[in-house]
């Protein structure tokens, strides 16, 4: 009896939920760095004079913004990779990064809103960064909905790759056009903290937070990618089995 095997690795038994060393390491790294970031943001960093304690959201909001855009950049790279190489790995990477990216973008928008309310008295401001990120959010949603509404998996992967590439290239254009649009309504103050002369301790806290969120992004994508690869393997196995039956 010959088992049906996958092209790139021999049949491996899957024995339910297990924490292999690699996963443990990833989770550990994410946990530790996030704890460090929490400490840095909430305790270590000095309180800002003008905005008060609320300003500490900055240490989450900015890294979230950074990772939102990083995630979509990875979606674009995955799209290029898929169109070029055609291997399912790239497709899985695109999907994984998009899902995590959507989560991070949502959090960025929420933290932005929470920050805006006490400072400006409004839940939303149409400032360039928030607006562009809101549009990015919609592009993420469109990307993921596109994948679920196409039946053929290869077609879905190709369409998603195209939209990922086109969307990512469009983001800077969108940003610039929103900036120009906003230049006619210069009422909003840039959501920064103390301007260019940020004290060392704040810079350090921000840096720690940036690193932590980047690690978090990488860990989440790795885990999600793993799940997606398993799903792809199952599909492939099923197909192979069907082919064997006459």
């Amino acid at each position: 009896m010959q088992p049906i095997s996958l092209p790139d690795h021999p049949a491996k038994p899957v024995t339910g939920f297990h924490l292999d060393p690699k996963t443990l390491f990833l989770l550990g790294a994410a946990t530790i760095s996030m704890l460090a970031a929490l400490y840095a943001a909430l305790l270590y960093a000095p309180t800002e004079r003008v905005q008060g304690a609320v300003q500490r959201i900055f240490y989450f909001h900015v890294p979230l913004a950074w990772t939102s855009y990083l995630a979509f950049f990875v979606v674009m790279v995955a799209g290029i990779g898929y169109l070029w190489k055609g291997t399912p790995f790239w497709d899985a990477l695109g999907r994984a990064s998009a899902e995590v990216g959507l989560l991070l973008t949502t959090m960025m928008l929420l933290t932005g809103s929470l920050w805006a309310r006490p400072i400006w008295g409004t839940w939303w401001s149409w400032d360039a960064r928030l607006t562009t990120t809101l549009l990015l959010w919609f592009i993420y949603v469109g990307y993921l909905m596109l994948r679920s509404s196409v039946d053929d998996e290869r077609k879905a992967a190709r369409y998603a790759a195209v939209i990922g590439i086109v969307g990512a290239l469009d983001i800077p254009i969108i940003h610039q056009s929103v900036v120009w649009w906003r230049s006619l309504h210069p009422e909003s103050v840039v959501l920064a903290s103390g301007g260019p002369a940020m004290p060392q301790s704040m810079q350090l806290a921000l840096l720690i937070s940036l690193v932590a969120f980047t690690i978090l992004y990488a860990v989440l994508v790795t885990l999600r990618l793993r799940i997606e690869r398993l799903r792809q393997d199952i599909r492939l196995l099923r197909r192979r089995a069907l082919e064997r039956m006459a």
Binding site: M1, I4, D152, R238, R239, L242, E243, R244, M245, A246
Partner: protein
Amino acid sequence: MTGPSSDLTGSVSTTEHPAVEVRALRVVLGEQPALRGVNLTVARGTRLALVGPNGAGKSTLLRVLAGLLRPESGEVAIHGHTLASDPWGLRRAVGLVGHHAMLHPDLTARENLMVYARLYGLDRAAERVEDGLRAVAVADRATSRVATLSRGMLQRLTLARALLHDPAVLLLDEAETGLDGRARDLLAATLEDASSRRTVVLTSHDLSYVHEVADEVAFMRAGRIVERVRTADLDAAALRQRYADALARRPVAATAPSATHVAAGR
């Protein structure tokens, strides 16, 4: 007696490419495997019929030959042209009559053919279109909108479209169903036209029709070619019997099936 998935080679000169050459073709549509390793060689001038139950993969195979479908793996060559090496040559070498007429209902018969003549970059386009219309006896309705044509006329016009660029290989996907008498005669005449040495691959459910028009018949089942025969060797009844036998035979699988029954989606 030919074994499963073997091919018959006609008297083809070694320097000339056969009309159709297919090797280890695998095609997956959605989740389902549609073609599971098809090998096929068709000599020039042959009229080959593909016969099999619904879902056997006949239409899929035709679409791959026409260059409309990219296979998962395997090679396809039409007169030596492949999609990878010379897609334009491949497309010029085939003409397809499929399930759709591929004609715009709001344009007239003549206008529809003119569009295709231009898309194929044919010289003397207007003349060819007129010849085409005359050949399928639709010339008197040349200025009628396609939506107003009867089913038989539509099918004849579709045939004209497929032959407009004079392809070396004609692919007919159940083209004889729903035809009026005139169209059937026309189709038969086209198939008879041996002088042009056009190769024909057609699919059908109708074994008597197949016996009439084809030189060779390949039985397809579940994405594979299981047997291939010459119509000259059998009469219509014998052909029917062979087909029934081929369908009833247990499949010769590449390896023994696994004991853990994986449910097949049917």
